[in-house]
Amino acid sequence: MDAVAQQPELEPTWGAEADDDLKLEVATQWQLMWWKFRKHQLAMAGGAVVIFFYILALGAEFFAPKLFTWYDKNYVYAPPQQIHLIRDGQLAPFVYGYKFERDPKSYKKTWLVDEETIIPIGLFVSGEPYKILGLIETDIHLIGPLDQDDPFYLMGADKSGRDVFSRIIYSARISLSVGLVGVFISMMLGIVLGGLSGLLGGAVDNIIQRLIEIMMSIPMLPVWLAIAAVVPLDWSALDVYFIITILLALTTWTGLARVVRGKFLSLREDDFILAARLDGAPGMRLIFRHMLPSFYSHVIASLTLLLPGMILAETALSFLGVGLRPPVVSWGVMLQETQKVAVIAIYPWLLYPALAVIIVVLAFNFLGDGLRDAADPY
């Protein structure tokens, strides 16, 4: 397999006009994987959704109509508005305004659609100013009301009159990056410890394997809860964020370590490794040039399947109130409000962040599944 991988220069001259069989034979390993991956339509769709969400997270200021801290206390718990596209036979998107009635006894507000008030909306409207990637100052938002003082709640408002839609977009930033940072640390631990275990064998292998077994047999959720709950209240949001990520990483590297160890163990005996060893390749070159590249793809697939677990764990911790804390906004933090069934029953739109979590996790699972199938294209 390595022999083929080392001749990529053959491919461009032959690939274009050659028939399919020949093309298949001279293709590099990564090309074969891509071809196999491409056939897995669910995985392709999953990949597209994942990329979409990361773009959303990167450009949150632009995609979200409001800043995540923005609020209007006149519109507490306002229900979602529906977008209407056609007005007077012309394409002029708008939403209806709000009016409310107060219950004379309980003084409770009931929101109604006010069909008299028409709030024109548009694309690329100017709203609150922000900086693109922290550099260029602008006030253009992808979507919003033409007059930025008009109410615009695509997914309703929460208890402080903040825009749920905008906050879901901003949350993608934290929720998706917790996964990335955590997976990175987890990957380091997994490769180093799994590698040591598989390469050295003997006592080291035994100790690391026992460690993994111990970690896997302890129910982690209560332990996460415990450690997260004793994080001092005066720590900054950033510190808490890092503690949570490290915590998640420290408890999830075990699966990957097992994969890496298994791969090293089986590769040690493979012919091409023996050949390289006979050629006099030193140990480091053996590991980094010959062994690691042959299972990068497996590592990537395992990591993709690890990510949704991290996202879910962060969501669960924050949802219970022991994870990230406001003013940091993540999907789990947003879901904190839905802990009481009475709240969900009256304001069901507060469950929208759950929908985002489910879509992202499902997409990651499909993507990871496709990658795992494609990781071994032979």
Partner: protein, 329 residues
Amino acid sequence: MWRYIARRFAYMLFTVWVISLISFILIQLPPGDFATKMVSQMLSGGAREVPPEVEAQLRAQYGLDQPVYVQYATWIGKIIFEGDFGYSFTYKRDAIELIFERLPMTFTISLFSVLFIWVVALPTGIYSAVNKYSLSDYLFTFVGFIGLAVPNFLLALILMFLSYKFSGQALIGLFSPEFADAPWSLAKVLDMLKHLWIPVIIVGMAGTASLIRTMRANLLDELNKPYVETARAKGLSELRLLWKYPVRHALNPFISTVGWTLPTLVGGEVIVSIVLNLPTSGPIILESLMQQDMYLSAGFILVLSTLTVVGTFVSDLLLAWLDPRIRLQ
């Protein structure tokens, strides 16, 4: 076999020891100790001032002025020999009482979930493998994916919302109101079983989904093997053939996953019962952690994890008994 059991048992003891260390560290983590807690409780209880000598005396009485390893030894010694897990400030009771009250329910739900997973995953997995790429196979795969991707606490939230919306009553709690505080009786057990299936399904969902997939994959591997062909050629009926050979081979993950999924199930039960407000360990663990009632929460985590590890140990033994290849490794 005995050697295998002895080795496994030693590993288990070691794991339990590590768990006890983790639990003890949890007690030490929050600022202040038992004595400061006592003093602040006396102050809030009406005492005008508590002289520092009293605090020092309390500290000496509970051995809190000793080095940490001595404290650990006293703490674990009391648990092992006297069953004394310390005192809960929030409930003003001994931690052990609360643990005995709540923990059985957690394990009832977790064990029922294991049963649920088996009962659903076995036939579904076999059916999916035998009717590969049929419409129902695709359907099960799809449902399985959803089951894997939707975290159980979100599932609980959504079910709660739907049940409230359609029946006007939230599916929370384990007992009907008239039984909530009643002493145990046959009627109460029956009432509990009526409520139990909801958390059991929610907790078992992800496990079922993954076991269906494993079962299907394992059986598919076995179905192509020559011995199946041979049995078929000898004229064995399809159903008998299936049950007699390949299914037996494919059954291994059923036993081994008990060990693997038990920690996840227990963790899942904890969070689901917080959402559904079930009278199990979940809500009380969260509450004691929030209140930094550390003896109670550490006790819960210690017992919960230890029992989980013991469960894993038992499933390992079962697996070794079923599959001789494992104990020879």
